[in-house]
């Protein structure tokens, strides 16, 4: 019964999406007031029905309804409650339902927080969101219905054991909030083009939405990488897997978009470019969905694959990109901005930022799809992996980091070399000295890459500090806008991130070793003693659990790496034992038993790896600060006041 309610709600949501797309868009174009007014109620209803559909599926999972095919495939009677909830998005159909539900959440948020924006604009934005919603709901209903019934099964199969983990339970919703969130700046850009009003106001409306989407994307990607680190037991945190790339590309373009929107709002420049970035950011989200969901790439994450789905998304993707680019071409002339700036100016620095980020995106895209192209030409199978991506990523992001530091100190419109140099001189000296000295004195051995990484981190922190001082020269501490703090935090996050990546990749040490209870091994100055190993049994798995005591001087910690075999799958899974620290992680994974009570054990010493995720958290915090800048709130309160005044006037005349 409940699944049928969900099914009907989903169909109704599709109907409402059609209404939400047609009436507001047509009404805005034809100037029919009553049609324009349909937008907000439609978006609200859409959310209501999506929540009913989503809730129904969740209920089916919690209720062990194994007559629903999707539930029977992705759950079983022994699955703990929390993973029965996260199992809702553990497979293809549920992921799509989550996608569409989150889209409805974003649409609702737009209808709620857009009081300061003219109704016609809001109608267009919600109309575009409705169009996207039609695409995804049709996709769900036609190719991937989560509510499909089968004869009642005695028990379900199981949720992929990999997904039975907290990190991966929350990773998809966060990531999708980001992915789908990019639809909002996209809708704003399309709406602005439809209305022929690409002005500073449009950029200002788009900015907080872009920041919020970006912040969710940042958190979502970090969660994925953190999960890969502790769950897969290979000690890495990023593999440039196509699915990782699929989430990273929209992030890169969204980052470029945030910067470009700043220029468009403040200086009225880069309008056409900003529109293009908004289109591409969302298109890459769709492309990511296509890559993950179509199974066109074989990768760790491709849990689902079916060509009909691939063709549908590809068609949808072609429609979205083709349609928006056609509109862009038609409106191209009116979007041009004629704003002048010098070669050395804040604008130029942000343009450099944009160019480098887009080239990185292109590189990631090229590396991701090249094997497909290579194969399609009949040149055989090819792998493009970490060595390729790492190389170009470093080549392209080092200038990005240098430019980041200098860029935040440049003036808008025009600046001089001497002026810039006088501002960065101290930072330059400190970062070179600190990079070399810290590497030589604190690290096990001197390497150029470590010095470069530390130097860049220090450079970013020093220049950001200088930018804060410049702000303080002009105004009091409390009157520095939040948007500035957002930028400062995000940049400092980049510094932590850069140092973390560099030191982890240069100085990590690992050792695979045979250890029997009572034996020990020394790695990175730490003594790893293998105390004992026990058998364990969980709700839906059994396995072994080791006890390893790590000591160094006063320091002592006990780790419990596990090896589990889930009843539903023959493949064993590792649960690494990790001691996380600010300057290093100690990581122990269990391998195979080697006889005589001895086990193969993998030990890792990973310096500064936490800085990677710490950096992303600081970046996300920056995104939050920027999105909650007072001027956006002021914009809203001003609109409220105006409406109240209008109401009063109407009341007085009546």
């Amino acid at each position: 019964m409940i699944p049928e309610i969900g099914q009907i709600a989903l169909i109704l949501a599709l109907g409402i999406a059609v209404i939400q797309a047609f009436f507001p868009l047509a009404g805005a174009q034809l100037g029919i007031r009553s049609w324009v007014n349909v937008a907000r109620p439609a978006a609200n209803l859409q959310l209501l029905f999506m929540l009913i559909a989503f809730g129904s599926l969740m209920y089916a999972f919690i209720d062990f309804d194994f007559s629903v095919k999707y539930v029977a495939t992705n759950s079983n009677s022994k699955l703990p409650t929390i993973y029965r909830i996260s199992a809702v998005w553990g497979g293809h159909e549920g992921s799509l339902l989550l996608w569409a539900t989150i889209l409805a959440v974003w649409s609702f948020a737009v209808s709620l927080f857009s009081r300061s924006i003219p109704d016609v604009m809001v109608a267009r934005v919600l109309g575009v969101l409705g169009l996207v919603s039609i695409g995804f709901l049709a996709f769900t209903l036609l190719t991937s219905n989560p509510f499909e019934r089968i004869p009642m099964q005695a028990d379900g199969h199981d949720l992929n054991p990999l997904l039975q983990d907290f990190g991966l339970a929350v990773h998809p919703p966060m990531l999708y909030m980001g992915y789908v969130g990019l639809v909002v700046p996209f809708a704003f850009a399309i709406a602005a083009m439809l209305g022929g009003r690409l002005d500073a106001a449009w950029a200002r409306w788009s900015r907080p939405w872009t920041n919020i989407a970006w912040l969710f994307l940042t958190i979502g990607i970090s969660l994925g990488s953190w999960w890969a680190y502790y769950e897969l037991g290979w000690g890495g945190w990023w593999f440039w897997d196509p699915v990782e790339n699929a989430s990273f590309m929209p992030w890169l373009v969204a980052t470029a978009l945030m910067h470009s929107l700043a220029v468009t709002e403040k200086r009225g420049a880069f309008k056409a470019w900003t529109v293009l970035l908004a289109i591409f950011a969302f298109s890459l989200s769709l492309l990511g969905t296509f890559l993950v969901r179509s199974g066109v790439l074989t990768s760790v994450h491709a849990f689902a694959s079916d060509p009909t789905r691939g063709v549908f998304i590809l068609g949808f993707l072609a429609l979205v990109i083709g349609g928006s680019l056609a509109l862009f071409a038609a409106r191209g002339k009116s979007i041009r901005s004629y704003v002048s700036f010098d070669l050395l100016s804040r604008e130029s620095a942000l343009l450099l930022n944009n160019v480098l980020l887009v080239v990185v995106t292109f590189m990631v895209l090229l590396g991701t799809i090249y094997p497909i192209i290579h194969n399609a030409f009949g040149w055989g199978n090819l792998s493009v992996g970490k060595p390729y991506f790492d190389l170009f990523f470093v080549i392209l992001t080092v200038p990005l980091a240098i430019g980041l530091g200098a860029g935040q100190l440049l003036r808008w419109k025009r600046d001089t070399v001497t002026n810039l140099f006088s501002k960065v001189r101290t930072a330059l000296i400190i970062s070179v000295v600190a990079g070399v000295a810290a590497t030589a004195l604190l690290m096990p051995n001197f390497t150029f890459s470590a010095a470069l990484g530390i130097g860049l981190g220090v450079w970013i922190v020093c220049t950001t500090g200088k930018a804060i001082r410049e702000q303080l020269k002009a105004r009091s501490f409390t009157s520095i806008p939040r948007g500035f703090w957002g930028m400062a935090f995000a940049h400092i996050g980049v510094a932590f991130f850069a140092v973390g990546i560099t030191l982890t990749s240069v100085y990590s040490i690992e050792k695979d070793i045979r250890l029997a209870p009572g034996e020990s091994y020394e790695l990175g100055g730490f003594n790893f003693a293998f105390d004992k190993i026990n058998t364990i049994s969980g709700p839906n798995y059994s396995g072994n659990r080791g006890t390893i005591t790590i000591t160094r001087d006063e320091f002592e910690t006990v780790l419990h790496p596990e090896k589990r075999t889930y009843f539903s799958s023959s493949m064993p899974m590792t649960e690494a034992g990790i001691d996380a620290g600010f300057t290093r992680d100690l990581f122990v994974a269990l391998g195979e038993p080697l006889g005589d009570g001895a086990w193969a054990v993998r030990l890792y010493h990973k310096p500064f790896i936490r800085w990677i995720w710490l950096g992303t958290i600081i970046m996300a915090l920056g995104g939050f600060l920027a999105a909650t800048d007072k001027r956006y709130l002021r914009m809203a309160s001003r609109a409220r006041r105006q409406r109240r005044q209008a109401a009063v006037t109407v009341g007085a005349t009546a």
Partner: protein
């Protein structure tokens, strides 16, 4: 035909090995740290052909175990990194390499990013030049009146 022959067993193997998901751990010992370094680099950069995008260090599929063993034995015999790589490519093709070789069919892959960067800068430079020429004539608002306007707006807001 050749390609199909090559892919068929691969596709079948993909069906059999669904997600072998934990790192394989052997307790190999090495004579020199250099040998150990080469071995680790090889296991990082060689692909486990039957897995879904994993290197042989990160997989415990039988093939990955076997390739690790082959890599280990050859490194221990004193072979260089290149020699082991060549041995692997001779048997499994370029697919086994995560660092694709530079050759005619991969040329665009390797020069693409830098080419794109170059094109981007050329386009920017040209736009910048035309814009500077135009702007001297058409930039109608000077900084001072803009500042005045901003001032008036802010007054109205507060």
């Amino acid at each position: 035909m050749n390609r199909m022959l090559y892919q068929l067993p691969l596709a079948l193997l993909l069906l059999i090995f669904t997600l072998p998901l934990f790192a394989g751990i052997e307790t190999y010992t090495f004579e020199t740290p250099e040998q150990e370094r080469i071995y680790h680099k090889l296991t990082e950069e060689l692909r486990c052909l039957v897995c879904q995008n994993q290197n042989i260090a990160g997989s415990n599929a039988e093939l990955a175990q076997d390739l690790r063993k082959k890599a280990y034995e050859q490194v221990k015999q004193g072979k260089s990194e290149d020699e082991v790589v060549k041995w692997m490519v001779d048997r499994y093709g370029d697919f086994v390499l995560y660092r694709p070789p530079v050759k005619a069919t991969t040329l665009f892959l390797w020069v693409g990013p830098l080419l794109f960067l170059l094109i981007a800068f050329v386009v920017l430079w040209r736009i910048g030049r035309t814009r500077r020429n135009q702007s001297s004539e058409t930039d109608p608002v000077d900084e001072q009146s803009l500042e005045q306007a901003r001032h008036m707006l802010e007054k109205k807001e507060s």
